[in-house]
């Protein structure tokens, strides 16, 4: 009897262990600006926004096309926002088919994405919109799906080899990130300019470093001549550390007028630090941030401007492009132009970051101010 009870206890603890492992906390919450997972490497050539010639294709509403929007995994706010955008386009194009938003758990992301893609063909789904989290491991499944007649379009994060994917919808260009930050600094500090500092994530975060480099490049232009970058510090995307670093910047540079943080953690921590210490009148905060976290600081004037690409727009644009390809209106080849509803015209172009890939570059950033942050 005792032995059985002990066995039962052990059994329960084993189950608990297994279950805990199944539902382990998601360690992959986006820390730096919502995981710009695609990591479009910096390109020196300006992205061609419109190809010369070629008719602009627009969608015929009302076609019956079942689609799946497949994020890396569920439970991440920005993916929900992308779904909102896709649903908006779905309603707008009056597609009588289904738009299904489904995804794996974070722990089962690779196998789960492959499973969904494989079963999409079985279900007779016409198109899958994928934010790839499996690297090239998904290429075989994507190719099989394409062979079975499924249109595969990636967004947020592409298939590196581009095998199995028709087009990738890229959120932003790295060069543009630098320019947007320079413009926000100019707009906050005005033409008389002043000293500002950068509060970044970690010293070896590739995306942030590329954005900072792009910003420094932009600052060389004469119109930014009065903006003086005095320091770059790192808060390692930890709230506490970023908070301390922000206050240390103020102590170190008495004439500091602005902290620019190209990370969602850093910008929120810096804004909180300035607010807590009553420094908002003297030092402003800007950078890349999540509207939900920044709304109070923006309305209080502490962080009058910050930027982020809109995941809602990303979902909306991806839906339009996918609908056009799946309905046969677009072939998904270089140089084709199309209209994506309210977002205007776009062009399918070579992806400068992947030799065989094609992309549609979304851009631009959404710059959030007190006027539009609550929308």
């Amino acid at each position: 009897m005792l032995a059985i009870r002990r066995n039962l206890l052990i059994s329960i603890s084993i189950i608990a262990l297994l279950l805990a492992a199944c539902g382990a906390p998601q360690t992959q919450t986006p820390t730096a600006a919502p995981a710009p997972t695609s990591a479009p490497a910096p390109t020196s050539a300006p992205a061609p926004t419109s190809a010369p010639g070629g008719a602009v294709v627009s969608a015929t509403p009302g076609l019956n096309i079942d689609m799946i929007l497949l994020p890396k995994f569920l439970g991440i706010a920005v993916f929900d926002q992308a779904n909102e955008g896709a649903q908006e386009a779905h309603a707008e194009l009056r597609n009588p088919g289904k738009l299904i938003f489904t995804g794996p758990t974070a722990e089962n992301s690779v196998a789960g994405q492959i499973e969904t893609l494989t079963n999409a063909a079985t279900q007779g789904v016409k198109a899958v919109m994928l934010s790839n989290n499996a690297g090239d491991q998904i290429a075989a499944a994507a190719q099989a799906a394409q062979t079975a007649g499924v249109t595969v379009v990636t967004w947020d994060s592409p298939i590196p080899s581009a095998q199995g994917e028709t087009v990738f919808v890229a959120q932003v260009d790295f060069n543009e990130t630098g320019r947007v930050m320079a413009d926000m600094a100019l707009s906050i500090l005005g033409s008389e300019g002043g000293e500002f500092a950068i509060l970044s994530a970690s010293p070896d975060a590739a995306n942030q470093n590329a954005w900072i480099a792009a910003m420094k490049e932009a600052l060389k232009e004469p119109k930014y001549a009065n903006l003086k970058l005095v320091d770059t510090v790192y808060g390692n995307d930890q709230s506490e550390e970023s908070y301390k670093q922000a206050l240390a910047l103020v102590d170190k540079h008495p004439n500091l007028k602005l902290i620019m943080a190209p990370t969602t953690v850093g910008i929120a921590a810096a804004a909180k630090a300035m607010t807590d210490e009553g420094l908002c009148d003297k030092v402003k905060v800007s950078g890349l941030g999540l509207p939900a976290e920044m709304v109070s600081y923006t309305l209080s004037g502490c962080a009058p401007q910050f930027a982020l690409w809109s995941f809602k727009d990303l979902g909306y644009l991806t839906y339009h492009l996918t609908y056009l390809i799946a309905s046969g209106a677009l072939k998904g080849v270089e140089g084709e132009r199309f209209t994506a509803g309210r977002m205007g015209a776009y062009t399918i172009e070579k992806d400068p970051t992947r030799p065989k890939g094609l992309r549609v570059l979304m851009g631009p950033f959404t710059v959030y101010t007190a006027e539009n942050i609550n929308k």
Binding site: I15, L18, T102, Q137
Partner: protein, 337 residues
């Protein structure tokens, strides 16, 4: 013995009923479910896990556990990728991966069987260690571009509509069934799992058998890793990460006792079918990953709790009848004297 047998049949019967229910619901709700291509996909999507589940049954029946299988899979996959990339011909790379699997299994087995360390600790270390080696080998990259015959073996049908891995699974299942349920070696594995001390005093070479089981586990895991690399066509450091939990789940759900000595491959086969059909059905109905995990988790809880609870209830019942008999004897004694 008879009670034990009845309990097993009961559990398998339960699994069988669940399987039929799942199949009926799937057929009703998802029209594409019964198609041959879907039935093959259903196996193909988890084929590496269910192959390893077969050998995991041996390990657990033997009274041990092997948490390192997924890391061995990952290591084997990374090894063939790295070797292939550095110019080694693919067949040699595959051989090297299989040998690595045998080495991993032997390493686990030596510590467990001859030193007497608990397999939970040894293979936990193996899980972390072998994964570490895989990550060192491949770093932060993804290696693909394997020869087309290799990826075709993983992705294309080989015999009729059946791909190589499915044929391998079917063959291994029959082989495992014969060894575990109908051979002398299988009987010894049960005896050791039931009571290792008794087995040792009966003159069974327990350590050698345990070592053999772990080596088999490493070899089959490495083979599964090679198949996974062929199916995916690309390998990363985290390939197969976390698979050990799904594998152990299927074995436990099959009625194999985590304490060893109890359970059989028929139950595990049924459990595999239940899990695969359930997952496939949910996926075809676009049930999200979170819910899928929840449902499988509930099944696991049932699988471990139900047999224990029924046994507890049965023993309590037996004790009560025994007490009643004692009372009867006590009341009878004065009369007889």
């Amino acid at each position: 013995m008879i009670a034990n047998l009845r309990r097993l049949i009961g559990w398998e019967g339960f699994l069988f009923v669940v399987l039929i229910l799942v199949m009926i619901v799937n057929t009703g709700r998802a029209p594409a479910y019964l198609s041959l291509s879907n039935q093959i996909n259903l196996f193909q999507l988890s084929i590496e896990k269910i192959i390893v589940a077969l050998v995991m049954t041996f390990v657990i029946v033997n009274g041990e556990i092997d948490l390192s299988v997924a890391s061995v899979m990952g290591l084997a996959a990374c090894l063939i990728a790295v070797l292939f990339e550095s110019g080694v011909p693919m067949p040699l790379a595959i051989l090297a991966a299989l040998i690595a699997g045998v080495c991993c299994g032997a390493f686990n087995g030596l510590w467990v069987a001859y030193v007497g360390l608990p397999s939970l600790a040894v293979t936990l270390a193996g899980m972390i260690g072998y994964r570490g080696v895989a990550r060192i080998l491949i770093e932060d990259r993804s290696i693909g571009g394997f020869p087309s015959w290799f990826t075709a073996l993983g992705q294309q049908p080989l015999l009729g509509p059946f791909p190589l891995s499915l044929i391998l699974f079917a063959t291994l299942f029959v082989l495992a069934l014969v060894i575990l349920q109908f051979s002398g070696v299988g009987r010894l594995i049960y005896v050791i799992g039931n009571n290792a001390a008794v087995a040792r005093y009966s003159g069974i070479d327990t350590p050698r058998l345990k070592l053999g089981v772990f080596v088999a586990s490493g070899l089959i895991a490495a083979m599964a890793g090679v198949l996974l690399a062929a199916r995916l066509g690309a390998v990363r450091g985290n390939t197969a990460e976390g698979f050990e939990l799904d594998i152990i789940t299927m074995v436990l759900l099959g009625g194999v006792s985590i304490f060893g000595g109890v359970g059989n491959l028929v139950g595990v086969g049924l459990a595999i079918l239940v899990v695969l059909n359930l997952r496939n059905g949910m996926s075809l109905l676009n049930v999200t990953g979170n819910v899928q995990t929840g449902v499988i988790g509930m099944l696991l809880i049932l699988s471990v709790l139900l047999p224990n609870l029924t046994q507890m209830a049965r023993e309590r019942l037996q004790r009560r009848t025994a007490q009643r008999k004692e009372v009867q004897i006590e009341t009878e004694t004065p009369v007889s004297s």
